[in-house]
């Protein structure tokens, strides 16, 4: 058996899906070929890492809903009619039209702002994945913010702990792009979730391109992994806002926050 033949069946082999007589020659080849062995080891290692990813169990309410599915209920059209689906479809259309606009020129992996945005989006995604388990609301914003302050030295003005439209879900310390930051998670009534990060930002630059006019402000804004991301500086702090909202919604929220902070 040569390398090509081995690699053709390596996936079946490492998953135990090969019959014993077919596995023996693969084993023999692996014993003598360092390059195929390396491929196998790297594959096993990555597969092992993916197995460690969190698997969020279904919420009890969902199990209950699924058990009650005998009754006639809304079908696909009902699902489609939900506001978030409409918003998602609209967002895709908007993205298609604005595609040339959202292209960011000069995006570099070593750019501190770029790292901050990437880190912010990763953290927002992680928060979304965890929300199901941790979706308790913050009942005492003052002490939540005080705790974040004591752990990060980042001042989170209690002025923006949500309002009539926005519910505060979490305020917690975090680290994005190796910088200590406060992460504040808000949701609107339709469960569109926005995370904003506040961090000391005196040394952080403001990109010259990609800035948009929102009210009298000119923050940096773009789409990243399907989220709208806004970055701005205010006083000694830098802020990154990552939102599930559509573009007008994100802009409005920015304006509200910029004024409140």
């Amino acid at each position: 058996m040569d390398c090509r033949e081995t690699r053709e069946v390596l996936e079946e082999y490492r998953r135990g899906e090969l019959a014993a007589e077919a596995a023996a020659p693969v084993e023999a080849h692996l014993a003598r070929c360092a390059s195929c062995r390396r491929l196998r080891e790297e594959t096993d290692r990555l597969a092992g890492l993916i197995r460690t990813l969190p698997r969020t169990p279904a919420p009890p309410a969902l199990a209950h809903a699924v058990r009650g599915l005998d009754r006639p209920r809304r079908g696909v059209t009902g699902w489609l009619a939900r506001p978030w689906v409409a918003a998602a479809v609209a967002a895709v259309l908007v993205a298609a039209v604005l595609a040339p606009w959202v292209q960011f020129r000069g995006r570099r992996a070593d750019d501190p702002v770029e790292r901050l945005l990437q880190g912010g989006v990763a953290e927002h995604t992680r928060i979304l994945l965890q929300l199901q388990a941790l979706a308790a609301e913050v009942s005492d914003p003052e002490s939540a913010f005080a705790r974040v302050r004591s752990l990060t030295d980042v001042e989170v003005p209690p002025a923006f702990a949500g309002d009539a439209d926005l519910t505060l879900l979490q305020a917690r310390p975090t680290v994005i792009a190796n910088r200590k930051a406060a992460a504040v998670v808000l949701r609107d009534p339709a469960w569109f979730v926005t995370t904003y990060f506040a961090l000391p930002g005196q040394d952080l630059p403001m990109p010259s391109e990609g800035r948009v006019q929102i009210g009298s402000y000119k923050p940096y804004m773009r789409r990243l992994n399907g989220f709208h991301v806004i970055y701005w500086k205010q006083g000694e702090y830098a802020y990154v806002m990552v939102s599930d909202l559509d573009e007008p919604g994100t802009r409005q929220l920015f304006l509200k926050m910029r004024k409140a902070l």
Binding site: R4, R7, E11, E12, R15, E17, S35, R38, L39, E42, T43, R45, L46, A47, L49, I50, R51, T52, L53, P54, R55, T56, P57, A58, P59, A61, L62, A63, A65, V66, R67, L69, D70, P72, R73, G75, V76, W79, L80, R82, W84, V85, A88, V92, A109, D110, R115, Q118, V121, A122, T125, R126, L128, L129, Q132, A135, W191, V193, N225, D244
Partner: protein, 170 residues
Amino acid sequence: MPQPDPDFREQTLAHLDALYSFALYLTRRPPDAEDLVQETYLRALRFAHRFEPGTHLRAWLFQILRNTFLTFYRREVRELAVLDKDVAGGLEESWDVEVPVPSMVTTVDLERALADLPEEFRSVLLLADLEGLTLVDIAQIMDTPVGTVKSRLFRARRLMRRRLSDYRAG
């Protein structure tokens, strides 16, 4: 809607957590994942008579879930066409491990690298490595030959290794 056999319903419920977890990785939003799972069950119960006893119920449910997802989120169609052309173009060049998995990988990095993958690649990795389905089951779920499942796995892992290594470097 014909009333499904209560046993059949119970059997499908055994897969609820796995379906929800997969739906959450696909949609990234708990309310979307819940809707997707509900829609999957609605279809599964409606089409229960089409399920062939003796075949893999788990794979059948995942197939319905993914098809439902694609019906509503078909924003990656263009990407797909490119991928399949790419896959048909031969794989030998991709065999070697040119970038290894970094020695330290955080869950955040993993989730980020996974979220960045096109849906085809993300799904194939989740089904193969997180859910532990067989290649034959994945081929059924993704409605593609086993050979294509394997090429997508190879490509998906190569992309993951590159991204993980970029994060470490960056």
